[in-house]
């Protein structure tokens, strides 16, 4: 009797919960439509202000396929894109690709296509020939971001870069044929030594990712060694660079070995072309050498500022990141395609364009960087307003050119942060 009563009460409660859920969903749908209405209103409002262009872009959806689902770079890029949503009349939807599974990536892209996206921004060059075929079949345009598409560039140029559905890519730093990262690392090392003339760094070791995956890192390391050799020819205090050891200094996408420090016993700093914040620094902490060794590296995952320059342990002496605003390049090209327009100087084939990077190698640079959209994840700190981006499109501004769009990528340096 008691059990039956309990069952009835449970059934009533569950039914109630379902009803509340249904009402909740209904409200949520209502809110969405209200939001859409609000978006349109705000877009019109901008147009009324007089500063907006006469032509408003088509309402469209763009899928962004990231390489991971959280982190400063991803979050700040999302914040930047969302800030553009109303003015550009674009809805953004997100997914995450894998770094190892071509089929899984194709499935992710197919899912985006089946959700009726008009364009896709993709951060991974894995399975690109199948992906581009899928996009061509569906009439969906594709752009690249934070990726040099080197495999496609060298092995499937005709299928990918010559496809009318591929608009080009903004590279995370330099393209393999335009490497300057070695010189940049060297400059940061020399700047450090100038600031610390009483205790300069005179012995360094390096770390890179495998050449098959990141050929530009090996080139960068060679460039760094060449720069040091040139410097040593006239320097009073020469710098020794431990030659790259294929087995211990090439990180197979795994953290640095704990024995790295014993193998480079005399090293005073690690020049990590590989993402040092994630692959080198944790091992330094575990080995207890984070206060005795310096780290010059790429990437910024958040938290590095606590031990940067003269702060904390002072481990980090250089970080290097790409501004999230560089996604503007593929975005504008996609919007042009979706709106059926192009720049007067638009090249016939898609290009891969190097982006300038934030090279943070002093306390002053770090202070500037902490005001950036990347660090704050606040689009109010972005280099470009939604109106600026609209003005970069061919339909928003008849005078806009491809050269201008390319130009913005080379201007995103630490000094350009507002």
């Amino acid at each position: 009797m008691k059990k039956a009563l309990l069952k009835k009460i449970s059934a009533v409660l569950l039914a109630g919960a379902m009803a509340v859920s249904a009402v909740g969903c209904g409200n949520s749908g209502g809110n969405t439509s209200n939001n859409n209405a609000a978006s349109t209103d705000s877009g019109t409002g901008a147009g009324d202000s007089g500063s907006a262009p006469a032509v408003e872009g088509k309402k469209c959806t763009i899928g962004v396929a990231f390489y991971q689902d959280t982190g400063l770079a991803v979050d700040s890029t999302k914040a930047y894109l969302e800030s553009l949503s109303d003015t550009l009349n674009v809805k953004f939807t997100y997914t995450v690709l894998t770094q190892t599974d071509e089929a899984a990536n194709l499935t992710k892209i197919q899912e985006l296509i089946s959700s009726n996206v008009d364009g896709i921004i993709c951060t991974m060059d894995l399975g690109m020939t199948s992906i581009i075929q899928e996009c061509e079949a569906a009439g969906v345009y594709l752009g690249g971001y934070l990726c040099d598409y080197d495999t496609s560039f060298n092995t499937a140029y005709d299928q990918v870069f010559k496809s009318e559905y591929f608009v080009g890519t903004a590279i995370d730093g330099q393209s393999p044929d335009d490497v300057t990262i070695g010189n940049s690392m060297f400059d940061s090392l020399i700047e450090y030594n100038e600031r610390n003339a009483d205790a300069p760094i005179t012995h360094v070791s390096m770390a890179i990712f495998p050449t098959w995956a990141f050929p530009s890192q090996q080139t960068g390391a060679d460039q760094f060694v060449a720069a040091v050799e040139a410097y040593n020819a006239t320097a009073e205090t020469p710098i020794t660079v431990d030659p790259l050891d294929e087995e211990s200094d090439v990180l197979a996408f795994a953290p640095l070995d704990t024995t790295y420090f014993a193998k480079h016993a005399d090293s005073q700093a690690i020049i990590s072309f590989a993402a040092g914040s994630a692959f080198v620094y944790p091992t330094m902490v575990q080995a207890g050498v984070d206060s005795s060794l310096k780290l010059f590296t790429t990437g910024f995952d958040g938290g590095e500022e606590a031990n940067f320059g003269t702060t904390g342990n002072g481990t980090y002496q250089q970080n290097m990141v790409t501004a999230p605003e560089s996604i503007t390049y593929p975005l504008v090209l996609l919007l042009n395609k979706i709106n059926g327009v192009s720049f007067p100087d638009q090249p016939a084939e898609a290009e891969r364009i190097s982006t300038a990077q934030y090279v943070i190698n002093s306390d002053e640079d770090m202070a500037k960087f902490q005001k950036s959209c990347f660090y704050t994840k606040n689009a109010a700190n972005a280099m470009y307003t939604p109106q600026d981006v609209l003005n970069m499109t061919a339909y928003g501004n008849p005078n806009a050119t491809y050269a201008d769009l390319k130009g913005i990528l080379s201007s995103m340096t630490i000094d350009s942060i507002k």
């Binding site: 704990t258 005399d266 944790p282 207890g288 904390g312």
Partner: protein, 336 residues
């Protein structure tokens, strides 16, 4: 006199594994040019002691949490998720209060709460343990994306004053507490002894009046304490990101090898000593492989896999080996 002799014998037997491992790795590294830098054998650097201690402490904490449940007849998949979630919360609490002690307390508190929730669902839902804990793992993993904006915790381990429990000597504190919690539960509480009965014969245990539900709950409370202590070591050594797709089980079970090895080594003394000794031995092996540039990738996995398999095979056949040896000895004696 006999007692002290027994203790010495136990100590020697327990220490055989890490000593053997050290000698073998020393011979291998000493005969390899890769392991010499400026004429010095890097395997014999002070780094060996530091790495072995730091890594063994982490392994011991997680291994004890796994073993406590296994010992009581349950294979709990949710331990890893509880540890990761506790680590994220504890790390953020530690940062907010700027205190590693507060982080430790928060880790233990969250570990206990999460373990109690798992125990509650297991008891009330009357679900098979695997289904229950996989479900809880998925739930806790999803929470890692919700707490603190889904950002996990990063900066905690990189600051010397917050990460004291991940470095020497601070790392010894949570490890000692975890060992103490395990020993107290197993050897000094009624629940620990009753758990042994239940894991051997559940029906008989219940029939003689053991309240199984209460026992499960108490076991989970102690497991929660150990998981919390493992979490504070983990967050003091690593960036902790949100996890999904049972990835946390992978993190936890990467520490399972010393559990099985420890139960065999522990035959000479007790399971907790066996686990600690096994962890030390495995870390010596890992360090040696690192010196040989085999610390990551396929070869490390192959060597580790073959070694572990060989060890398990040996331990499973130890009775037969013992009988064979005694037969040989007998024959020799008869011949003489």
């Amino acid at each position: 006199m006999k007692n002290s002799g027994n203790i010495i014998k136990k100590i020697i037997l327990s220490a055989v594994f890490p000593i053997l491992m050290f000698v073998v790795m020393l011979i291998i590294t000493a005969s390899n040019d890769k392991c010499y830098v400026n004429g010095k054998l890097i395997f014999l650097s002070t780094d060996l002691i530091r790495q072995v201690i730091v890594n063994s402490c982490m392994t011991v904490c997680v291994a004890l949490a796994i073993w406590l449940q296994l010992k009581n007849g349950r294979f709990d998949f949710s331990g890893g998720a509880s540890m990761i979630l506790a680590a994220i919360i504890a790390g953020n609490v530690g940062l907010m209060t700027n205190s590693p002690v507060m982080a430790l307390l928060a880790a233990v508190a969250v570990g206990i709460v999460l373990s109690c929730v798992t125990a509650f669902i297991y008891i009330v839902g009357k679900l098979p343990i695997i289904i229950c804990t996989i479900g809880m793992t998925l739930l806790y993993e999803s929470l890692t994306y919700l707490v603190f904006g889904g950002q996990g915790i990063r900066i905690f381990y990189s600051q010397a004053h917050t990460s004291v429990f991940g470095r020497i000597p601070g790392v010894l504190v949570p490890t000692a507490l975890a060992v103490a919690a395990f020993v107290i539960f197993t050897y000094f509480t009624a629940a620990g002894r009753k758990g042994k009965v239940l894991s051997n014969n559940q029906r008989a245990g219940v029939n003689i009046g053991i309240d199984e539900r209460k026992n499960v709950f108490v076991t989970y409370i102690f497991t929660g304490i150990i998981i919390g202590l493992a979490a504070i070591v983990y967050v003091s050594q690593n960036e902790v990101t949100p996890q999904s797709g049972l990835a946390t089980s992978g993190i936890m079970f990467s520490y399972i090898v010393p559990v099985f090895m420890g139960t065999f080594i522990g035959l000479a003394s007790c399971d907790v000593v066996g686990i600690a000794i096994a962890a030390v031995g495995m870390e010596i092996m890992n360090y040696g492989l690192n010196c040989l540039n085999l610390g990551a990738g396929g070869w490390q996995q192959i060597i580790m896999g073959v070694f572990v398999l060989g060890f398990y095979t040996f331990s499973a056949q130890s009775d037969k080996i013992q009988a064979f040896v005694s037969r040989l000895t007998k024959k020799n004696t008869t011949a003489v």
